[in-house]
Symmetry: C2
């Protein structure tokens, strides 16, 4: 039997633990260790205007955030930032909708089909359906999608929920009607080897999944085409008249420290984050191995340009499967573990998505409960 | 000839001034005077989670912001907060869309008509049309609206753009299909006498127009019905997974100081704001009086419960009219003054909306240019 550390938190021992959301509280301790270096102080009269830079196409983007974003991508080598517009959003959630909106409004006919290869991020379904727009229509799984007319494919790589490396699956080189939005929320060295510098037309990133600062609601898009960037900015203006300046200033400061620490021996955040993830994945794989019931995907190793060595993947979510004919999300719920149903991700009842980014004590309680689950 | 102070800012003398947006930078000096009292310090490991209070229906609302909102409304006496849900939003812009979405999703048939009495806030048109939702449809001017079926009336009081006190104008007591969203962005004592404690079903407020902190993107809704509040929260979750915590914490601090100062002889913000607005309105009325061309609305005096005396209204926007047959927005543009066209507000070419909330030097340049405009 694998040794699972008992939770020191008595209060947790009987409570429901929520691993449905990917609330990224795992990295709190790192930021504590950084002490004052990431502290921001905002005076009463700072940041009052709607405007950050009237000469920028994205006039609500704080220049120091733009700078920090470019420097971080430069240091990590995961995405090209030259000759691109940076659009800031209230999380990449708002940006994904802004991008779908922008591409749709530039399309020749409506509704534009929106697809993603299953299993996909379940929130894409909600994001593209909740306002019942006449401009675009969620068409589900991109595998086997063959509808005529303009379409948008959402490509998440590493994929949420299953951690795999993804490319587009709808390929129609013969026409100009297909557009792709690349969601690179998890394309950072603590989760996956950085194998290339991405340079796609629309690339989405989110502060929350890099550093763990989900509460700030900051995301950004790197956009090649000026018209698309302009339409995205228009969307965000009508949707929320820009993005919190306080969050932007704080994200800028934290990303700057993150970048500086990329060159540090002892304080490299990605090294720290990778260790946490490796440790959790090893423990989880042990529990799964000891059980007769569960299964996890395997990921190929790859050479990481950032770390300069061959490394494994440690995704932010575990895509947990069961070998039995059962409803896994309900089985876990009975053990007081909330997870996201595979069906919501375009998959089946035998899979769930489980966050790997909780606080350590919560993660350990999850392992205990999983280890105690018996075959039916 | 009325004496108009010359701008001390040489750089401004020839530049375009933008009074189209209501960028509320007029109050910066007050917050400077408050010194450290409104300074917030946020450490690197603070506010990382998506969640603010898992036991609250609006789980992304910071408890200290909720507290500050209730205390401020209590001190000002402009709105009832008991037995209501507080929903926080990325500005009242996001909340208005959340409310339209919520009411529409609870309606018996679709699309739900959305109307506002002209002249109306031009952004309502964009907010209710840009996603081309099948759930609701902008039907324009509420005066004369007689379409069958469910509808939502947006009531802004004091009104944006024209500063008048508003009630609903579509009255259909015979059925249950009409819903009202009250936008009270400007129902604060520096702009208008507080004549009653409002207690409508859905009331929207925005941080930006009270204190001038537009960059924070914080608004809130006071909502009576639990189902409506729940649907609004759902909208905000899909739209942006909550609202910046940094902005919420800062808004809480500033609103708390605002409330404390309500009892101060020397530092009362509303007294300060009212003085700025009175001064600007008097100067503007002088310029308009001296011209043969322009006109401004007149507002009745009323007893203000907050100040305990009879007072005038000093709206945040001037609804400037011309007596000539001309396109006023273009005439002003030729003088390098950007304003919002009356036509965008459901009115005519002879009216424009001009922000009264700019920095002092910009306002003075506006007066100079207006004073120099001759009859055609």
């Amino acid at each position: 039997m694998v040794k699972v550390e008992n939770s020191k938190n008595i209060a947790l021992s009987d409570s429901i633990i929520n691993l449905d959301h990917g609330d990224p509280t795992a990295y709190e301790e790192y930021w504590r260790k950084m002490g004052d270096r990431c502290t921001v102080t905002i005076r009463g009269w700072d940041l009052m205007s709607y405007f950050s830079d009237v000469n920028n196409l994205c006039w609500f983007l704080e220049p120091e955030l733009a700078e920090a974003i470019k420097e971080l991508h430069g240091a990590v080598g995961n995405a090209a930032t030259e000759d691109r517009y940076i659009v800031v959003g209230t999380g990449s959630t708002q940006l994904c909708q802004a991008a779908v909106h922008a591409l749709s409004s530039l399309a020749g006919s409506h509704p534009v089909s929106v697809v993603a290869a299953a299993p996909f991020y379940s929130t894409y379904v909600e994001e593209t359906t909740y306002v019942r727009s006449g401009m675009y229509k969620w068409e589900g799984d991109a595998w086997g999608f063959d509808k005529k007319g303009p379409y948008i494919e959402l490509v998440t790589s590493p994929n949420n929920p299953d951690g795999t490396i993804r490319e587009t699956v709808v390929n129609r080189p013969e026409d100009d009607e297909g557009k792709v939005i690349h969601d690179f929320a998890y394309y950072w060295p603590h989760y996956t080897p950085i194998t290339r510098r991405q340079d796609h037309d629309i690339m989405l990133f989110t502060f929350s999944k890099i550093t763990g600062h989900a509460g700030s609601r900051i995301g950004w898009a790197l956009v090649k085409d000026k018209e698309v960037a302009k339409k995205m900015v228009e969307y965000i203006i009508v949707n929320s008249i820009g993005v919190s300046k306080e969050s932007q200033i704080r994200a800028a400061k934290i990303l700057k420290v993150l970048k500086e620490n990329c060159e540090s021996e002892s304080d490299n955040f990605f090294e720290y984050g990778r260790e946490i993830m490796r440790n959790r994945w090893e423990k989880l794989r042990e529990v799964v191995k000891e059980s007769d019931v569960f299964a996890l995907p395997k990921y190929p190793e790859a050479y990481c340009n950032f770390f300069g060595k061959t490394l494994e993947s440690y995704p932010a979510f575990a895509w947990l499967g069961t070998k039995e004919e059962t409803d896994l999300v309900s089985d876990l719920r009975r053990q007081k573990v909330m997870s996201r149903a595979g069906e919501r991700c375009g998959s089946d009842k035998k899979h769930v998505r489980v966050s790997m980014l909780s606080r350590e004590d919560v993660f350990n309680v999850f392992l205990e409960r999983l280890a105690n689950m018996k075959a039916h």
